[in-house]
């Protein structure tokens, strides 16, 4: 199949970008979207043009490095699928495909389609952990975790930190990412003692970088791991509690 690509090119963070048009010819169905771009790049290099800069690593949908706004959708048209796992059979001959970087104040463009998502690290750093310095902790089975709780925590922990939620959200809100990590840690018994401080610190750090959630629900549609916005609700609730909890009494309920 042959495609027309409109790709965002931008020299650097402060340069002004533009769309460049390229032809991708005899694209195979079984190619992944990024393999299609690889081929385009090889041709660009042969023609002496600088290749398109885009991020990717695992190409298995797990590392969260790939991004891309494809025809106005974060990670493209296929639900629950990262760009690297998107295959060309989802496109048809003669189609025009527009490729843009994720856009948000917190995700400055580094070059072309490559963005900087370090704001996510700032949020994790603020409290996205359970303090357990390396040592000799209790035997793993001394902390039973009911299966439903463990499963839900895992659902939340599946977040790959790709930023599609932010990219898709009309408000550039970081809610889905933040709430997913909060849910993962706050749902587990191990996470209880730091729960309220963690919630406060992560939410307030998030708000240093991102917009606010008006419950559009677009993030959960774009999320390659299909993280539900219910975790956002959980976060809103925990944040309120965090403000009013008397933490001196925490010992009582853990």
């Amino acid at each position: 199949m042959n495609l027309t690509l409109k790709v965002w090119r931008q020299e650097g963070p402060n340069a002004s970008g533009h769309f460049a048009t390229y032809q991708a010819s005899d694209v195979k169905d079984e190619m992944s979207f990024l393999e299609m771009l690889d081929v385009v790049n090889e041709n660009l290099i042969e023609e002496g043009q600088e290749p398109i800069t885009f991020d990717s690593d695992c190409r298995e949908g797990i590392c969260g490095t790939c991004s891309l706004m494809i025809n106005g959708q974060a990670h493209g048209p296929q639900k629950g699928t990262t760009t690297c796992q998107l295959h060309m059979r989802k496109f048809h001959d003669g189609q025009t495909v527009t490729i843009e970087p994720f856009r948000a104040a917190a995700f400055p463009i580094v070059r072309d389609l490559m963005i900087d998502r370090s704001a996510f690290d700032a949020i994790i750093r603020a409290g996205g952990y359970i303090t357990a310095d390396t040592g000799a902790p209790r035997d793993a089975n001394e902390i039973p975790v009911p299966k439903p709780a463990a499963d839900t925590a895992m659902d939340a922990a599946a977040c790959i930190g790709c930023g599609a939620c932010v990219a898709a959200c009309p408000n550039s809100a970081g809610q889905l990412f933040t709430s997913a990590k909060l849910a993962h840690l706050n749902l587990l018994p191990q996470g209880q003692s730091e729960r309220w401080k963690r919630t406060e610190d992560m939410v307030e750090t998030m708000e240093m970088f991102f917009g606010s959630c008006t419950n559009y629900g677009e993030c959960q549609e774009a999320c390659p791991k299909e993280i539900p916005i219910d975790f956002i609700a959980l976060m809103n609730r925990d944040y309120l509690k965090a403000k009013f909890k008397n933490r001196k009494l925490l010992g009582q309920q853990v």
Partner: protein, 259 residues
């Protein structure tokens, strides 16, 4: 040492620039809450619910106009005399108005500051067409429908509460609530304004009264699959009833059922 750092101190690897400083701590949890965006959403939700309560009660009260002038006027009178002599005349009503005004003010304030924040969160928008899946006209237009409601309210108060022209009809008589409504809405542009604004209200409520559950963290689907579908139906029903019944009044007047 708190793990979070002020933007200035963010270490070398955080290269994406913050759009705000971390909020200051306040000795009062409530103020603390209001300083955060998530907290403002709580305020919106709570005030939103108050406003919902008001429009619902107000709508029910207004249905009295279907039972003739006396009933409707005395209802208005009753409102003014509520809790008399415990409170002075219109005292209860004023307390109630105060509550409303505060709720309305906070609701708008949060709406405004969140909107500003969201604009700052994406200074350069997408240069190609977005293809939305969940976003719909209702939740996208919250700010506009909200503003329409605000403008309507000013008009509405001039019209039926203060009796100020041009909103109010020439025949406005303080206390003659039934006639005031009738005279006012006989003017079709006014009737139209009422109809249009109540549609806007309905739209606003359609997203709003679904949204509150999310904001209030009454978590659904993943945690309690049963109550999730109810949220939508509730929102739909609430919006249709409030807007629908409200719209019925101007229509009733135009068609002569009332008046």
């Amino acid at each position: 040492m708190t793990a979070t750092k002020e933007p200035s101190e963010l270490s070398s690897d955080i290269s994406s620039r913050p759009i705000a400083r971390r909020q200051k701590r306040s000795p009062f949890a409530v103020i603390d809450l209001y300083r955060s965006a998530v907290g403002k959403k709580w305020v919106m939700a709570v005030t939103g619910i108050m406003l919902m309560g008001f429009v619902l009660v107000h709508m029910i009260g207004n249905t009295k106009m279907y039972f003739g002038a006396e009933g409707f006027d005395s209802y208005a009178e009753f409102l003014r005399m509520l809790a008399y002599p415990l409170l002075p005349e219109t005292g209860a009503l004023w307390l109630f108005r105060m509550g409303l005004i505060v709720a309305f003010g906070l609701h708008m304030q949060s709406a405004y500051s969140l909107t500003v924040l969201n604009r700052r969160a994406r200074p350069v928008g997408y240069q190609s067409k977005r293809d939305y899946i969940a976003v719909n006209w209702a939740n996208r237009s919250m700010r506009w429908t909200g503003i329409i409601i605000l403008l309507f309210l000013i008009f509405h108060l001039m019209d039926l509460t203060w009796g100020r022209a041009p909103a109010a009809s020439g025949q406005f008589v303080f206390g003659q609530v039934y006639d005031n409504v009738a005279f006012s809405m006989q003017r079709w542009p006014v009737a139209l304004i009422y109809i249009a604004s109540n549609i806007a209200l309905g739209v606003h409520l359609y997203h709003g009264s679904w949204s509150i559950f999310q904001t209030l963290g009454t978590v659904s689907a993943k945690f309690n699959p049963r109550h999730n579908p109810l949220r939508r139906s509730f929102a739909l029903a609430f919006a249709i009833i409030v807007a629908g019944v409200n719209i019925s009044f101007p229509i009733a007047v135009l068609t002569g059922v009332v008046g």
